[in-house]
Symmetry: C2
Subunit: 767 residues, 2 copies
């Protein structure tokens, strides 16, 4: 391969400065030239990657820069160098800077996209990655685990990057601490925009993890500051801190379905963060606390609806003498000077208490050790609609001291304390979502070392004038909770302009197939009345709605294809409205790919009639639906219904986040209507959501081997109400899980077995 290197060398002499600064800029056009440039690089060099697509490149950026003269690897123009295909970047050495690169349309062949070491002998120190983008650089097989940025060494930095769209297993950013070279690292993760991470289903979807369960005793000192976590919905832990002395300051958590979790390790500082929820999601949490010595100060919580594990403040029970990888007792935690605006029951203690499950769990899993020596002081709680349960005690709170907390609602919770003070006060909205009290409550509790809390959320000096809550009033003009411009790169547009969907008319099979192929994501295919006989499966790999142009004269799709009617590919969003679908009894109506379901899909059916299929929905292991919603539809004469039962490793994973079946008729389904499975003892991963409401099920289940009509084993949230079951020859309609508050409500059962409630399910231990 011919390589091209252009070298420009300039020596700049400053008057009055003894040391000349040499800058050596090397432009490279391909990987061979890049390798050579890296091999030859020395302190002060700048290696410039030519604009264009760099496909299938594995870059090992090693070198020895200095503080004054780092070695830089950068794009010719920020954002104009895209790294695609099977590619990655490893960094090893000192004072190395990578900037302006864009990773997309690909995935890493290793465990990391960017790794701060080349090997154990060649570890990055004092190096940084800045102004880069990693966008949907996700593994084809969602079950293959990787981390996009993996920190090793000490004093490294990830700054001003935009990172979004990780669908596969593994935290987006991981800080490794395994070895003396990597502790006391003082890494900086600052000014980044962590864009949306889709729901993953089960564990291993953190946006940031610092350490692991074996580093709970390790001093890390990682600094996570001024980042925007923007709809990071991967799992219940947005950030999982698993080491000591980490600092999480001045970050914004925007509508992110999870919590900042102090999972292992101790002495975290959580100061000046903003948590913004919204009105309808109970998935959006705040801070979950395990272990010792954390200081949670000056944080602002707005409209968080999360409960229990996802509470604005969730203080967990520990396991007495916990095994290293489980739950240590909370001790010596300080929660002071925080503000909670329109949060429901923000203080929850004894979270995870499971003494009642002693019969199904070993002693080493019983979380009975309550928080001790914990101080909750000088916090402000305001609710526009009174919330008279500011504290929820899942166990006794005898180890928690409340002092000088002020709330505007009456406290009718069982937790009474002189430190929970109801006052009639006002707040005003000074900018979007930012409510501040109209007065300062200056009488504060002076706890041990509280004098070290020297400023408020906006940096105002507490030593001069102090007040309860995160904010001392008045605030400066123009203060906002979140300004997206402050995060991420200086070149990448995170907001795409909205596409205006087209409606494409279809009158026959050829048009249907053709338009489906041509349609842009978001388009609607409107089928004129008539029968469409399809000899091949229809492939859905974008957002497509198929509807009947005349709702009173619905189009009929007749499938003669071999095994599948609709094949759902990654990122498919298929909506069928007002359609008849008829199969030949041998196909699946909907099926995912057999493998490499790299991203989630959605399926919406409304006013659809399905007749004579094998399975209604068949999925593969690793396939994940965000939402499956079937309403006002008829499903009949088929072998099985929805088969979301391939995650059988019993590690907490499952095949769909939301399954909504409402107002449907199921008739003559030979086996199960639904098999929706989540295996493994319920841990902090608390998903699987089933709504089975107002359906009528008739003459079904007669060939079901287990004699159960609806299987929902291990699914945490189940609404099972107002259904009618007639003449289904099964023993059980469903088994509900009492400990998760599942119960049948207003169902009508005729000649159809029974609905069983089991208080404690015995599930396989995951840890």
């Amino acid at each position: 391969m011919r390589t091209f290197i252009s070298i420009s060398f300039c020596l700049i002499l400053f008057f009055g400065c003894e040391k000349p600064i040499s800058s050596n800029s090397i432009s490279v056009n391909d990987i061979e030239a890049l390798k050579e440039a890296i091999t030859n690089s020395k302190a002060g060099d700048e290696i410039v990657m030519a604009n264009g697509i760099w496909e299938d490149v594995q870059i090992e950026f090693s070198g020895q820069g200095t503080e004054d003269e780092p070695i830089v690897l950068r794009a010719e123009t920020p954002g104009k160098v895209t790294i695609e295909g099977v590619s990655n970047l490893k960094i090893g050495g000192q004072y190395l800077i990578v900037k302006d690169l864009h990773f997309k349309n690909g995935h890493t062949p290793t465990k990391n996209v960017i790794q701060f070491k080349i090997d154990d002998e060649n570890i990055a120190m004092y190096s940084k990655v800045t102004n880069c983008v990693i966008e949907e650089f996700t593994q084809p097989n969602r079950e293959v685990s990787d981390q996009w940025v993996e920190f090793w060494g000490r004093h490294n930095e990830l700054s001003n990057c935009y990172i979004a769209g990780k669908s596969n297993f593994g935290p987006t950013v991981m800080v490794r601490l395994n070895g003396n070279e990597h502790i006391k690292n003082y890494h900086k993760i600052i000014n980044n925009h962590f864009g949306p991470r889709p729901r993953k289903g089960g564990p291993h979807g953190e946006t940031l993890q610092v350490g692991d369960s074996y580093t709970s005793m390790t001093p890390s000192h990682t600094i996570v500051s001024n980042n925007l976590f923007d709809r990071c919905n991967g799992e219940v832990e947005i950030i999982s801190s698993k080491s000591n002395f980490n600092e999480f300051t001045n970050n914004v958590f925007f509508e992110s379905e999870g919590s900042l979790v102090l999972r292992h390790g101790n002495y975290a500082k959580i100061d000046g963060n903003v948590f913004i929820g919204n009105d309808n999601s109970e998935f959006i949490g705040g801070i979950r606390v395990v272990n010792t010595g954390h200081w949670i100060t000056n944080n602002y919580f707005y409209k968080l609806k999360g409960k229990v594990f996802r509470s604005p403040l969730a203080v967990m029970n520990g396991i007495p003498r916990s095994p290293l990888n489980r739950y240590n007792q909370v001790t010596d935690v300080v929660v002071a000077y925080n503000t909670y605006i329109d949060c429901e029951s923000p203080f929850q203690f004894g979270v995870g208490s499971n003494v009642s499950q002693s019969e199904v769990l070993p002693e080493s899993e019983i979380r009975s050790a309550r928080a001790i020596r914990t101080i909750v002081a000088n916090n402000l709680i305001y609710n526009h609609n009174p919330d008279d349960q500011p504290v929820v005690a899942h166990d006794s709170v005898d180890g928690v001291m409340f002092a000088k907390n002020i709330l505007n609602s009456p406290n009718h919770s069982p937790v009474k304390s002189e430190g929970l003070i109801t006052k009639d006060f006002k707040v005003k909205e000074v900018s979007d979502g930012l409510f501040v009290p109209t007065e300062n409550f200056e009488s504060v509790y002076p706890g041990f070392d509280f004098e070290t809390i020297t400023t408020d959320l906006f940096g105002n000096d507490r030593t001069k004038q102090n007040a309860v809550g995160a904010i001392i009033v008045p605030v400066k003009d123009g203060v906002v909770l979140v300004d997206k411009k402050n995060y991420g790169t200086d070149w990448f547009a995170t907001e795409k302009s909205a596409y205006e969907a087209q409606t494409l008319q279809v009158s026959n099979v050829e048009e249907l197939v053709g338009q489906l192929q041509k349609a842009n994501s978001g388009d609607i295919l409107a089928l004129n009345p008539g029968a469409y006989e399809l000899n091949e499966k229809l492939i859905i790999n974008k957002n497509i709605t198929i509807t009947s142009s005349d709702k009173n004269n619905k189009a009929e799709l007749i499938f003669n294809s071999d095994s599948i009617a609709f094949e759902l590919h990654p990122k498919a969003r298929l909506q069928l409205d007002d359609i008849f679908m008829k199969g030949n009894g041998n196909q699946n109506a909907f099926a995912t790919l057999d493998k490499n379901m790299t991203k989630a899909y959605d399926l919406f059916l409304e006013n659809v009639e399905l007749d004579n299929f094998k399975n209604v929905l068949q999925v593969s292991k690793g396939a994940f639906a965000d939402t499956i919603s079937v309403v006002n539809s008829v499903i009949k004469n088929s072998n099985r219904g929805f088969q979301l039962n391939k995650e059988t490793d019993d590690k907490g994973d499952y095949n769909a986040e939301f399954v909504i079946l409402k107002n449907n008729e199921f008739t003559n389904i030979n086996e199960t209507i639904l098999d929706y499975h989540r295996g493994g003892y319920d841990e902090s991963t608390i998903g699987g959501n089933l709504v089975f409401q107002n359906n009528t099920v008739t003459n079904s289940g007669k060939q079901e081997a287990d004699h159960i009509l609806i299987k929902n084993r291990g699914i945490i949230n189940v609404d099972f109400s107002n259904n009618t079951f007639k003449n289904n020859p099964v023993k059980l309609i469903a088994v509900l899980w009492g400990e998760k508050d599942q119960k049948p409500v207003d169902n009508t059962i005729e000649n159809s077995g029974e609905i069983q409630v089991v208080q404690n399910l015995k599930l396989k231990l995951m840890y």
Copy 2:
């Protein structure tokens, strides 16, 4: 009570100094005056306790000094104020100094003699206790636990004190970390002389403990430097470090039967310490390592014979995912630049590996996690008598990296490494026990962060000239390993002049009773031939030898007393030589007090004949013998032999450290010859030592309910050899413990049951 206060006030003005220093000296004669003076004290005050005995005083020394003007509480003359009886001292406030006091002849009514807090609201900070003595201030009941100095708060100091003779349960000095006020404490424990602490038998006899099993994640930063640990024999842990970031530097461990143990917590610094053993004790250990990130550098180990747990370097196996209070895996430990002179097999790894005991232990007790990422480098090993097993691997050492370690013996251990280098080199003795090589081995392994090891044991700069081992040669003239003058107070004499024992002749019972009472400790009573009929028990509360003046015509002691012949009190040391003892069948020949056996006793019998007693030795719970030695004696026609079986709590305690029965005849003993019990699953407390050698046992055990002649359950070290058993109608002679390498050797058995060896004893878990 009339109180007397004399106040002298002096104002000293320094020329050129803007701030006048005021000194207010208040003399106090009794506790009321002291209380008043404390109540009224202010920064700069000095409270002077009048010389004399202060009996039954509980002092609460509170106040607010400043860095420049502390408040001082001191003796009028150092050492002339003794605090006696039921007394203690609590300190609370800032910048308080206590000095020159002598605690003796008493014990504390609370859990501490000196406590660095008064209560949770009144905690000592920046305060110190210096130039004081605590001497045998031990609880009457040895089983009552206390700590003599208990640290709380931050920045407190114990310096230049002499502390010795603690016999009861509980560490001598304890650092508490439970609460944010007490972490990151930077306490200093410096320049102290920790004098002899007697063997305790079982756990809870540490000389210093820093934290507990719940503070393994807590930053402590306690500094333990320049202390002399002088025959601190309390238990296997001289120091038990149970928290993070503690520093143990430049201490001398002199003939102390135990180790410096990194029991919980991580990142200890152990630098520049000297460990001095002696030729015959296998109890004297070095450093035992558990957990992560410790740096063990520049230490000097001399003539240590300890093995396994007590090895010069004992690196333990951990329990995978250990419970909080058990054993974490060793990771990231550095052992560098240490010198081992005449130590046997100094490097031992996989210590505590107990996979072989899986059948008797739960999984949560199995230590199978080997050390990983551990570096052993630049150490020097010299043995005058070649030791070809420098490394003992109780498990694989695949996680340990050896580099540039130099030894003078061939390495025939199974652990081979290029990092274990045999060289023919010489050492010379530059002062008592201090051997240094005659040359520097300058090629050292440059590990990560090794440049932070900047000096050697004696402070020589390693950055200029470096060498393997703790010492760079040449050393300065006059360097010694230990100079006792450098430790402890400036007034207390730790070495008592030797008493010259008297021999007192005795011819009748009155003389015997009278002389026994009058005798000084160490004296000998020589009994003239004849029979001595005693109607009362003889009380032994000192060191007494009773012998026959004519060994060929032994004196005969005939006891008519009710229940006891000899009553052994605390500190008794009774030696009987060449004596006949005859009982009435209802007494015990020897018995301890029923309670308050505050200190250990010893019993030595040689050429003694005992006839017709109930029990030979009966003890109470809490009574502890250091040594029971019976040789060349005859014991006959009694109900039971030695009953050392009262520690039945199964917590690792036992009634005697050494039991030596050699060359004796036991005849017609109805039940057991010996019942010597230690309960609780064997943990790092590894005591109980039985020698049962060359005895002849005849016609005994016929009424023993369990049909066992000798009970030694749970005793760790047993030598059972060359005995003869004839016509003893029992099932078992004894049960030996295979896992502890116990085996019968060359015993002759006729018509006497059998000796059983059980590989793994199932004992009650202690934790």
